[in-house]
């Protein structure tokens, strides 16, 4: 006889669709986000198929434009931004701080419905003919030039933005008001700090993208002169407003992944994190400085060189807190008692790939070099190293780490190791050649290219095929584990933290008695006075 937990406490579709339990809502998000991930992957597959040969033979130029636009829109707004916060953050933040739920459970459920509504708008746009503006909706592509379903897709982005704002609000209030007795700010898990910083970005940035896409719609429909020079507007203004949100949005994707890595690295090196407060505050520093760098996307779009210099310098500065984290994780692993379980493999993957992604970002933040590299495959490779090599590695690492907690089942570890290996190899084979071909001058967003670039593109498509196998594998062993997996103990990894002290899967109320916290939540090593390094 099973004990009562959040999964078997209530049956039927209504008990899920009307739930106010943050853990069940996290699973609703998991299912819907996975759907959009594979939908976005399908668009990516079409892109890679077209680029296998130099001629534009699979898709017309128009349809190719639609493929990369829909790939970007779906992956950014419907997978990457909600992925870790809405699934893992939703599930774990209340448990990690010793609370029974988020501060506003109803709002949490509404957030999911808003997300789904935004997703439906985007799906309708995709099915009724697609959008071809690029995921950035740049004017005048999105106003004067495009004939595709810009307004429907933009409304989808507008709507889902509110889901993001409300989730961020929920997290901030929860972290402020609902910590268990004794759980001071500097005892919080770094995962919680990372989500606090992420929530700030969500709340301060998302309204701007919402208003910006609304202005695009206003110009398209009402011909208000905001971005169109013929009406007295300025198209570069759109790029300012768009990137004011969309550069920080990269931190909405990567900060939660950094939170996941902080947890995994401690658990599998069996050490307290090196420089806790540096990692905690670097999250806040990234969240704040990240708002001051957006002009590095506009160096060659007509922005004044003086503004460019300002944005370039600050873009270099924002690399510092990220580097602090990488050094601190490395120092945490140093002389740790390391076990190479699958979550740790993803964490290692993250460390290497995020570092490459970050350093190549510095190439692009240099104004002179950017004139050569802007809008080439170098840029595409750079941000995929951050968003796929960083954010998705973190997401998968976190999913593997907490899967036994979420489902109460153990998955096949050899299969998970194989998948992690395939993802790492496939990812690098896909995107490293793009650095080279981009540096050689292959522009992005064309469905044909000169024949001398083919070898790089064949490697890339081959890598993408391996990568997709690596992404599909977890679908099988995760689903398999739900039906056939061995039951997981409360703490299968021997990890520390409040989430590992409750049963797997946790009961609906998380804690029968509110825990009283007397030390930092992760005590892997004895306190310093014992003299253990």
């Amino acid at each position: 006889m099973d004990t009562l937990n959040y999964i078997n406490n209530g049956h039927g579709l209504a008990s899920w669709l009307l739930t106010k339990d943050h853990k069940r809502i996290a699973l609703l998000y998991l299912v819907s986000i996975t759907f959009f991930f594979f939908l976005g992957g399908l668009f990516a597959f079409m892109i890679r198929l077209e680029l296998l040969t130099p001629a534009g033979d699979v898709l017309t130029a128009e349809n190719y434009n639609k493929m990369f636009t829909m790939h970007g829109v779906v992956m950014v707004f419907f997978f990457l931004i909600p992925s870790i916060p809405a699934v893992l953050g939703n599930f774990l933040i209340p448990i990690m701080i010793g609370a029974k739920d988020l501060a506003f459970p109803r709002l949490n459920l509404i957030s999911w419905y808003i997300y789904v509504l935004g997703g439906i708008f985007t799906l309708v746009a995709a099915l009724s003919g697609g959008v071809d503006t690029g995921w950035t909706f740049y004017t005048p592509y999105s106003t004067a030039a495009a004939n595709s379903h810009v307004i429907t897709a933009a409304l989808g982005v507008f709507i889902t933005g509110f889901s993001s704002i409300l989730t961020g609000l929920n997290f901030i209030v929860t972290i402020h008001r609902m910590r268990a007795p004794g759980l001071t700010w500097f005892r919080l898990p770094l995962f919680v700090w990372a989500h606090y910083a992420t929530s700030l970005v969500m709340i301060l940035g998302t309204p701007v993208i919402a208003i910006t896409v609304l202005l695009v719609a206003a110009e398209r429909v009402l011909h208000m002169g905001i971005f169109d020079p013929a009406l007295g507007g300025d198209p570069v203004l759109f790029q300012h407003l768009f990137w004011f949100y969309s550069h920080p949005a990269v931190y909405i994707m990567i900060l939660p992944a950094m939170g996941v890595i902080s947890e995994i690295v401690q658990a599998f090196a069996r050490k307290n994190v090196f420089g806790y407060s540096f990692i905690a505050f670097s999250s806040l520093a990234i969240a704040i400085i990240g708002f001051l760098v957006w002009g590095h996307h506009i160096f060659v779009a007509g922005q004044s060189v003086y503004a460019g210099m300002l944005f370039s310098i600050i873009s270099y500065i924002v690399a510092v807190p990220s580097a602090i984290k990488v050094f601190n994780w490395t120092a945490t692993i140093y002389r740790g008692s390391i076990s190479l379980d699958s979550p740790m493999l993803y964490a290692f993957g993250f460390l290497g790939l995020f570092t490459i992604g970050g350093l190549t970002g510095l190439f692009l933040a240099a104004m002179g070099l950017d004139i050569h590299m802007h809008d080439t495959y170098f840029v595409v490779a750079h941000f995929h190293y951050i968003m796929v090599g960083g954010a998705i590695m973190g997401y998968l690492g976190g999913l593997h780490y907490w899967w036994p907690k979420i489902t109460g089942k153990l998955y096949s570890e050899p299969a998970a190791k194989l998948a992690a290996g395939l993802v790492f190899i496939g990812f690098n084979l896909t995107f490293f050649p793009q650095f080279l071909v981009g540096y050689l001058g292959m522009p992005r967003r064309y469905h044909m290219y000169p024949p001398e670039f083919q070898v790089f593109n064949v490697m890339s498509t081959l890598g993408a095929t391996i990568l997709s196998v690596g992404y599909l594998l977890p679908m099988f062993y995760f689903v398999h584990s739900i039906f056939r997996g061995k039951p997981s103990p409360a703490d299968p990894w021997g990890a520390k933290g409040l989430e590992w002290e409750v049963p797997s899967p946790p009961p609906t109320e998380n804690f029968a008695v509110t825990p009283i916290v007397t030390h930092g939540t992760h005590q892997y090593a004895p306190s310093k006075e014992v003299g253990v390094v």
């Binding site: 008001r177 301060l204 300012h240 957006w294 002009g295 922005q303 004044s304 060189v305 503004a307």
Partner: protein, 104 residues
């Protein structure tokens, strides 16, 4: 953990009517002023009225006047971020004329 003693100040209904009246007067003044060309002061006058109205809404209708210090910080940070957005965007527009032809 901090105690749950947020005082929920209840303002008299008359205050809300007063604020509403002030907002309506602001709107009326905006419309009237639109009939006169004040030259360079057009924007100054309009924005002053608009900002005053926004301030009234934030302070009274959104209860920030009676909020905790944390509420003040949150409300203020929103405006600081707005200033960041305007300031850095203007760093582009105001310096475009400094060098002719560069990067174009």
């Amino acid at each position: 953990m901090s105690g749950h003693h947020v005082s929920h100040h209840v303002a008299p209904k008359s205050l809300y009517y007063l604020i509403f009246a002030l907002l309506m007067i602001g709107t009326a003044v905006t419309v009237i002023v639109a009939y006169f060309d004040l030259g360079a002061f057009n924007n100054v006058v309009m924005l002053t009225i608009a900002c005053t109205k926004a301030l009234l809404v934030v302070l009274y209708f959104m209860h920030v006047r009676w909020g905790t210090r944390l509420t003040w910080v949150v409300a203020a940070s929103g405006f600081v971020w707005l200033l960041i957005m305007f300031g850095f965007t203007l760093s582009d527009y105001l310096t475009r004329g400094w060098v002719g032809g560069t990067l174009r």
